[in-house]
């Protein structure tokens, strides 16, 4: 399978390279990923190519090392400098290790941005986060509201470990956004430690202790799957819904069973699209790529970069019965 994928990729790359010199005036944007052959990044490439088609005079060079190492990315960056691309948009394997190579690229006039996984500020102009903590907190409540009858009722949170930084930040942001969702009441937060069995058991406990809880929000991909299975096993499908952050491939079965109506994760296609658009604007001079700037990103809207040059793309993308099967094949 993965051999075929690599083969297809290689052919696509070769085609792109052959087509390259024919259109010398094009803006050449290199999309550098953590490693080739990862579904998430293949999807990002799709988005970047969509952006290229939209603006007309952009060409995407999709590349990356074969394994997720910083050394591999540095080699790729050096090759791109030699090829004289106009921009590099990178999802870094190590935020510091790749910075010197990227700085060299910037010294040669190449515009560098990072996306998904950031680079230290000296190695890039701006960084595009898939989403922001406050957007994720808000999105979790939005999902809960959609699953609650009449948008009101009790919800519970199933987190990973009690000390997990990103989980705690998202839960805090969720609680901050609560005034915008009157009638939604967070009764408790339990911790499944990102272990399938503990998450499953905690969900069973929730179902027993809080019979009024109608929605379980799990902002963790292990927890959301285990919670959905526990709800199915307890025969509460249709009564209690599970939502949160998960991957379509892992959640497809549970959406089909009805244990989950919808859930979210950042859309890799939009992410690749946005990264390509930002690079294009910076190369064309329609944006500078400075901290504090707002850059338009086509159909996705616009992104505002803060004082550190970091910006958040959009709300996490929502998946439900209508699109989960399609995305399950991608990531």
């Amino acid at each position: 399978m993965s051999f075929l994928k690599t083969l297809a990729l290689g052919t696509a790359l070769a085609a792109a390279l052959i087509a390259g010199p024919a259109q010398a005036e094009n803006v050449k944007v290199a999309l550098v990923v953590k490693a080739l052959g990862i579904g998430f990044f293949e999807a990002a490439k799709k988005g970047a190519e969509e952006a290229a088609k939209e603006v007309g005079d952009m060409e995407i060079i999709y590349t990356g090392p074969t394994s997720t190492t910083a050394e591999g990315q540095i080699e790729v960056i050096n090759a791109l400098i030699a090829q004289r691309v106009d921009a590099i948009a990178i999802s870094a394997n190590d935020k510091d290790a790749v910075a010197p190579a990227l700085k060299k690229a910037m010294d040669r006039g190449i515009k560098v941005i990072s996306w998904d996984s950031g680079v230290a500020p000296e190695g890039r102009l701006v960084h595009l986060n898939p989403s922001s903590n406050s957007l994720i907190g808000n999105q979790l409540l939005k999902l809960a509201q959609a699953a609650l009858p009449e948008g009101k009722g009790d919800i519970a949170i199933l987190s990973a470990t009690a000390t997990s930084t990103n989980q705690n930040t998202w839960i805090e942001e969720l609680k901050k956004a609560q005034p915008n969702y009157p009638g939604i009441n967070v009764v408790t937060t339990v911790y499944g430690d990102d272990l399938a069995d503990k998450s499953y058991r905690e969900t069973q406990g929730l179902l027993q202790t809080y019979p009024n809880v109608k929605v379980i929000v799990a902002p963790t991909s292990v927890g959301i799957v285990a919670a959905a299975q526990a709800v199915s096993d307890a025969g509460k499908v249709g009564e209690v819904f599970v939502t949160g952050l998960g991957l379509p491939s892992e959640m497809a079965g549970h959406v089909k069973s009805g244990a989950s109506k919808s859930f979210s994760i950042w859309n890799p296609i939009d992410l690749g699209y946005s990264a390509a658009m930002i690079s294009y604007h910076i190369v064309k001079g329609t944006a500078k790529g400075e901290p504090g700037e707002t850059i338009p990103i086509g159909r996705v809207g616009q992104v505002a970069f803060d004082g550190n040059g970091e910006g958040a793309m959009a709300d996490p993308f929502t998946y439900d019965a209508s699109n989960v099967e399609e995305f399950a094949k991608i990531f």
Binding site: A162, Y200, Q204, V225, A226, Q229, A328
Partner: protein, 331 residues
Amino acid sequence: MLKSLFARREALLLVAMALLLVVITSRFPAFARPANLAAVFNDTAILMILALGQTAVILTRSIDLSVAANLAFTGMIVAMLNEANPDLPLALLVLLSAGVGLLLGAFNGLLVWKLDMPPIVVTLGTLTIYRGMAFVVSGGEWVNAHEMTPVFLETPRTLVAGLPVLTWVALAVIIGATVLFTRTNVGRAFYATGGNPTAAIYAGVDVGRTRFLAFCLSGMLAGLSGYLWVARYAVAYVDIAAGFELDVVAACVIGGVSIAGGIGSVGGAVLGALFLGLIKNALPVVNVSPFFQMAISGAVIIAAVAINARAERRKGRIILRPTGATAGAAS
């Protein structure tokens, strides 16, 4: 004399569990409903199965830390086979899981037997090897609920005479282990090997071969649990049951199985597992902070070991006083 000691340990555990149940019920009345207790038994089934295999190993004065990794590897193998060939009959997959587990256990056993390596070192090594093998065969990918067949996922939860198949499997293993430990030569050899290896050799017991057989049993049960685990939580990934080997050893220790070998019973191990299962299932519903949950589980294990240590000391005294004459007569 020894028999009454076991009986006392089992009675002690039963009393402790009854007390625990009273405390839980005072805070959460629905917990003691028969249906819920049956659910707790079902939830603990895998732990009981593994604890019985572990008991055999510990009886021979060894330890098997690779059971959870064995479970993860065999679980991954059968899940991937089921995904690739949905037509393979379930019976074959179940046999295969037990068979693969047996092979992995036999590998541990051979190293202990033929190379005379300390079991803790052997199984610490194979623990990482088996998990690594799970990563290699899966490439780090998950096998998700919708990729496995309904028969594969639903069989352990199918109700037969009011109880799920998973519960029946655990009951069958308990009966099998009781017969093996108390009614067969191999069972006697387990006790003899751990109780006094030198005496066992003089009595014609092949100590190394007995240990090998104990590891085979533990491995086979771990392999079987691999299928049961994957079906129960409807997901297979490299990290499933991470750290579960410690729960298994804890269940044995709480059940009065002596780490020094030679002492322990099927009833004790089962009750030890149930005691842990009771705590694991009760803590979420009585709303205890996750940090306290860990502390409570730890405190129970320490308490159990303290009682074990006392019991073994008393055993020494009892043996010393009246056996002066009998030992002389025997030699």
